[in-house]
Symmetry: C2
Subunit: 558 residues, 2 copies
């Protein structure tokens, strides 16, 4: 695995270059750039959500640096499906150049366009469907149906004279999908016969043994839970999980209940899905939540967001009695969703809050109300055996997932040197059935933070972590510019700090003395004086209070 | 469940009062106070570890407020076992009064004394064993063996003329424990025959169906993994899990490997455990880690701390190549431990780091290398049926755990009104087989933060969260005290903030103008001027940068 950056050679004619900008070594911000004969094709353009060591950050984008100077060479952006980690960064790319065409299925583009509308961008878009072929510049594309936790997902094969790539996007192989739309293994087999030179394959569940259960196994559980509930039912799930919502609508209808959608993204996405025919709403089942409150308790199901414990989403607000709908004894809450690592405490807080209010909480820990959207190890083995690809690049996963996926490929007989463990910025050249790493770019995290993109640095985040853990102390001293004598201060303010300001009385004379000493020896420079203040109070606070707050000395000349 | 505080009545003669100060609604800081005829008995005195919304906090203590004025009435502190969430707050209690006797088993007291030594406290201690009876003031105590993830754990029954309480501490019912020391169901049966008026019972795994697997099922897995490892083996686990370490020692010995202990707490605890005979070290197996590096790679097992991804512990440092032992290809790392909620991201980061270095990582997600230390639902049902207690108080758990435990009690026929769902500060009076809630004290979180105890407030933590998410902007202006005119500034400094300081040039004139306006209308008060500065820059930063940093205006009169 390459970790030290090194420059790739100039791209040879007749060679396809593959450059993942995101999604390798992380679950999120999926994006890969393909280059052939001077033209660039982008597959996916997603965001990554920040972890706790990236406080205050709203979103993380792929680093566009390698393509920033070549926007005119981009022939299109193919979006495999409508999840944030595959489409979320499109607005930020199109802000650099609005007329880059975006290509995807009907639902994928509708969700992307809704997002772009918020950024006031009207894109050039090309809607495609499974089985369709399109040529974008030198790239011959074929779109292939795959099954995932959102409808209308596509894999894409990319043919150039240098060879054929198959990129799965996110997928699983539910053999009895709700919409009958299977991952098209016949197409996989045909491509395999023709020869796949590079297989780029979803690794998310590569370390999960066996097979992902069928989505339709959840229906009877929902049906039973809703059927037995004496009062209101509240279901939380991902706002793009059309099939999960479909099963909730069906179960509600079967028990004579109506369904009110809650949460902005839930309402928006399900309206799009219904308009495009992906969601089949049983006659008269949906009801506006304001009217739903007039129904008897045993006639209503609320379908809401917030299954990950997001503090501002509907479910958290309900648990905090900060929402018009207040759960109580006899109500049932179903978390029909996964538990994304890092969200555990938030989700358990919501479960505890709801339990405390008297609600009965059903979640994947105590009932079968969720299945994953990604292929587990057993399914991936089928893919390798049907495709028999010449080379494999596991994508979409933390390093342990990529590793597990490479191992599966090797178990089916693919040579270890043909399973490439890459990371973001790994440059892979493909020609004559041979894929090899030829470079490693040094890419960074691009943080969206308030109205800024890419301005916040890792040093700023380190400052935030120190401020968040330890608070700060500011010391203001006004000195006479000519004599260096202290005119006013030291005045000390601390925030996020255990002690009240009185504790600092004892250090003020030390600071004054240090400054007087400096003045006597002729120090006038306010930066040098600041350093003296910093050292004096820093040493004192470390020793006497055993803390390491940020220290902000402010020496003002007047 | 009581949530609004209300005062309990004065305690009637002949009545036992039970007051949990910690551990109800949380996993941690277990502590209960029993009062009878003017005397107090404390059972357990543990710490709680902070969550992500409590940044910078080192530890959280039970709120000692209700007993602070009555330290002379405390006849003793019974410690059920040696885990931090049961003994960690003892030093802070003894700092209030050093001669309060502490009572516990040999290992429990040895671990507590090691901790007290760091605080330079030599306690008055009374070592007890299973089967032993002791009278402390008006309380007749009987100690009963229970099985847990640390040896020598005890339940305690507390008899007074008001009735009999049985408090389990933490326990499970491993029927083939490594040390042969079973949870003493014969004693439970005998107490049940005599009549248990209040059963205070561990709820941690009450929502886990079935039975906790046997600790000894892990041994063969460790044996197999260690046997198959071509090079070094590194095992991480809790530093107090004597039986887990025992199984590692045995497996290492069986394969001709020696074991080096790594991490201060691992070395300290295992030295204590070996000295007291709880750990049986096979002849010559232990080796100092400095000498271990001279052994061939296939002759060594490192036994380390850091199984929860703690950044400063040995395993994290190894994963970051910040430790003398650098894992590499062919090495095997075993995380023989649970994954405590909230630690997932940290643990996965360590697993990814080790995988990246080439190590094979075995953890409870892919092998049976951990079992819980707490009784699951099936085991708790046995307890209820053997004891048939008159009243039940589920302890030790988040609200959902307490709730699940109460439900189990009810399933065995205990009336709902006799299963008390309490929280910290719930006052329960027991007399004539009747336990009832008579009050609810308003207790707080007591934060240990650097050298301070109880000084940091929730407002300080809110400041830290704002600082951590958004950073701060300080604005310094020096004004003439008599005229209110600006002499120097505004000078603006920002930290943890996306923009560089240049961005603030455009707001400086606005601040100057606002201050000039104020001066003209006669405002002189520096607090009022500060508020003007705060409003001016606050509005500007919210609107133009879409951020809400902390704003620290400093108006200095000179």
């Amino acid at each position: 695995m390459p970790t030290t950056p090194f420059d790739p050679p100039a791209l040879e004619p007749g060679t396809l270059r593959v450059l993942p900008l995101g999604g390798l070594g992380e679950v999120g911000r999926n994006m890969t750039v393909f280059e052939y004969e001077g033209k660039l094709l982008v597959v996916d353009c997603g965001v990554l959500f920040p972890e706790e060591h990236q406080p205050g950050v709203d979103l993380i984008l792929p680093d566009f640096e390698p393509i920033k100077g070549r926007l005119d060479d981009i022939v299109g952006v193919v979006l495999t499906h409508g999840h944030e980690d595959h489409i979320g960064a499109v607005p930020y790319l199109l802000k650099l150049k609005q007329d880059i065409p975006i290509v995807g299925s009907g639902l994928t583009l509708a969700l992307t366009e809704a997002k772009l509308k918020e950024h006031r961008i009207r894109p050039f878009s090309l809607t495609v469907a499974e089985g369709q072929h399109e040529r974008l510049g030198p790239f011959d594309l074929e779109f292939i149906a795959v099954n995932h936790s959102i409808p209308d997902a596509l894999a894409v094969s990319i043919r150039t004279p240098a060879g054929t790539v198959l990129a799965t996007g996110d997928f699983k192989m539910d053999q009895l999908p709700l919409d009958g739309r299977l991952t098209d293994l016949r197409a996989f087999a045909r491509l395999g016969e023709e020869g796949v030179d590079l297989f780029m394959v979803d690794s998310t569940n590569a370390d999960v043994p066996g097979f992902t259960p069928l989505e339709r196994e959840i229906g009877p559980v929902l049906d039973q839970v809703i059927g037995k509930s004496p009062r209101r039912v509240i279901v939380a799930s991902f706002s793009s999980h059309v099939h999960r919502v479909q099963q909730v609508l069906d179960a509600a209808a079967a028990h004579g209940r109506r369904v009110a959608l809650l949460g902005r993204s839930m309402v928006r996405n399900m309206t799009i899905a219904e308009d495009l025919g992906y969601l089949n709403v049983p006659d008269g089942v949906l009801i506006d939540y304001r009217k739903a409150r007039d129904l008897p308790d045993d006639k209503i199901v609320y379908m809401s967001t917030g299954s990950q414990g997001e503090p501002m989403a509907v479910l958290s607000r309900m648990a905090n009695l900060d929402h018009a709908i207040e759960p109580g004894p006899g109500d049932t809450v179903i978390l029909a969703s996964s538990l994304i690592p890092g969200n555990e405490n938030a989700v358990y807080r919501v479960i505890d809050g709801l339990t405390k209010l008297g609600a009965h909480v059903v979640h994947k820990g105590n009932a079968k109300v969720h299945v994953s959207g990604h292929a587990a190890a057993g399914e991936l083995l089928y893919c390798y055996n049907i495709l028999k690809p010449k080379n494999v690049l596991p994508i979409h996963g933390e390093y342990r997932h990529l590793m597990a996926n490479a191992k599966l490929a090797q178990d089916t007989g693919i040579a270890p040197e043909r399973t490439i463990l890459g990371e973001n910025g790994t440059v892979i050249d493909l020609k004559d059935g041979d894929a090899r790493v030829v470079g490693q770019l040094d890419l960074g995290f691009v943080y969206v933070d308030g109205s800024t993109v890419g301005e916040i640095t890792d040093a700023d985040l380190k400052d935030r972590r120190i401020l968040g853990e330890e608070g700060f102390i500011s010391v203001i001293v006004v000195v006479d510019a000519s004599t260096g004598k202290v005119i006013s201060g030291p005045e000390i303010h601390a925030r996020g700090f255990a002690e009240d300001d009185a504790v600092f009385e004892s250090v003020k004379p030390k600071i004054a003395a240090a400054l007087a000493e400096a003045a006597k020896s002729g120090v006038r420079d306010s930066h040098a004086l600041s350093q003296i203040v910093r050292r004096t109070i820093g040493r004192w606070v470390n020793q006497s209070l055993r803390r390491r707050p940020m220290i902000v000395p402010l020496v003002i000349e007047a």
